[in-house]
């Protein structure tokens, strides 16, 4: 047990100070929460608009399936042979990397 003869006087907080502290804390939290939710809302808005744009393009498009795309068909006939050919696999297939490591 510590042995001492003097101690710091208790801190007193007036009602005015308490309201001031709570006001500032509340304002900071409110502003932060507003800014964060506003950004997320904006982001969701742009994602929705982008999705709507893509659907609109689909509605207008004559060819709606990728395998019927003349450009793609021409690419296979003149360059990559056929889907799953050696060259297509080398060029188009995704390789996966272990990203579970944090550092």
């Amino acid at each position: 047990m510590a042995r001492y003869d003097y101690v710091e006087k208790a801190v007193t907080v007036s009602r005015r100070e308490f309201l001031g502290i709570m006001g500032v804390a509340g304002a900071v939290l409110w502003t932060g929460a507003y800014a964060a939710t506003d950004l997320v809302q904006d982001r969701s808005k742009y994602i929705k608009m982008r999705a709507q744009g893509i659907y609109k393009d689909d509605v207008k498009a004559k060819v709606r399936q990728s395998h019927n795309n003349p450009g793609l068909q021409q690419m296979y006939s003149k360059f990559a042979g056929k889907p799953l050919s050696h060259l297509s696999e080398e060029l188009f297939h995704t390789r996966y990397i272990d990203r579970t490591k944090l550092g």
Binding site: R3, D5, Y6, V7, E8, A10, G103
Partner: protein, 233 residues
């Protein structure tokens, strides 16, 4: 009842909860700061950086819990701390102009008169302001980077990352200065890592304004109780 040893009466400078919070900072902030530098500079192998990130996160958890507990259970100490660090007057200007007399003492070996200080000197006040504001920013941006990268907008995360880096470097370097000065001022070191008390004469030398205005003798009742407990334990 007063307690007198060879150094005369003593004053309680750092109560239990403050010393406990300081240990929280040592066990939380210190490993987080050191591993933070490793993560920033990517020094060592991939495994080393990986384990550093894990230590960084554990340190962050300890730091955050310590800060929250101290805020909830020692709000009076936080209010006293904020009042003190943002309270500046002519004495602080005078203290800053002579660097608290430390350069003269360390480099030239002579003592000069410095303006009287409260519980913290002006240099400690600057450190306190940086620690309070920078600490809050580091904790908030750190958790944003930990948990909100997939959901938060890119620009938000970009600035969180930049703030975390800049304040991390700044406070990380500040920590080493704090450790050096803490050990240099051995009486303060003993108070913080010991029972929190300091000889009154020492406090009077470093913190005359605090001793004059902000401390009071322990009330007899409490002193008797302390005496009983200390004999009983």
């Amino acid at each position: 009842m007063g307690h007198h040893d060879a150094q005369g009466p003593r004053v309680l400078k750092h109560p239990h909860r403050s010393r406990l919070f300081h240990w929280g900072l040592i066990l939380g902030f210190m490993p987080a700061a050191i591993t933070g530098f490793i993560l920033w500079l990517k020094t060592g192998s991939e495994d080393f950086v990986n384990i550093s990130m894990k230590i960084h996160i554990v340190g962050a958890v300890i730091l955050t819990i310590s800060a929250l507990l101290y805020t909830f259970f020692s709000l009076d100490r936080i209010i006293a701390f904020i009042r003190l660090i943002f309270n500046w007057d002519d004495r602080d200007v005078g203290w800053m102009l002579v660097g608290g007399g430390y350069p003269q003492k360390m480099l030239l070996g002579k003592e000069i008169t410095v303006p009287p200080m409260d519980k913290m000197n002006s240099g400690q006040k600057i450190f306190g302001i940086c620690l309070l504001l920078g600490g809050i920013l580091l904790i908030v941006t750190g958790w944003l980077l930990y948990a909100f990268i997939p959901v938060a907008p890119k620009v938000f995360i970009y600035w969180a990352d930049k703030i975390h880096l800049v304040f991390g470097i700044f406070l990380g370097l500040f920590m080493f200065v704090h450790i050096f000065l803490g050990i240099y001022n051995w009486g303060e070191f003993k108070a913080m890592f010991g029972d929190g008390t300091q000889p009154l004469s020492e406090a009077q030398h470093h913190n005359p304004v605090w001793v004059e205005k902000k401390i009071e003798p322990v009330k007899n009742e409490t002193a008797d109780k302390t005496n009983v407990v200390s004999h009983g334990s």
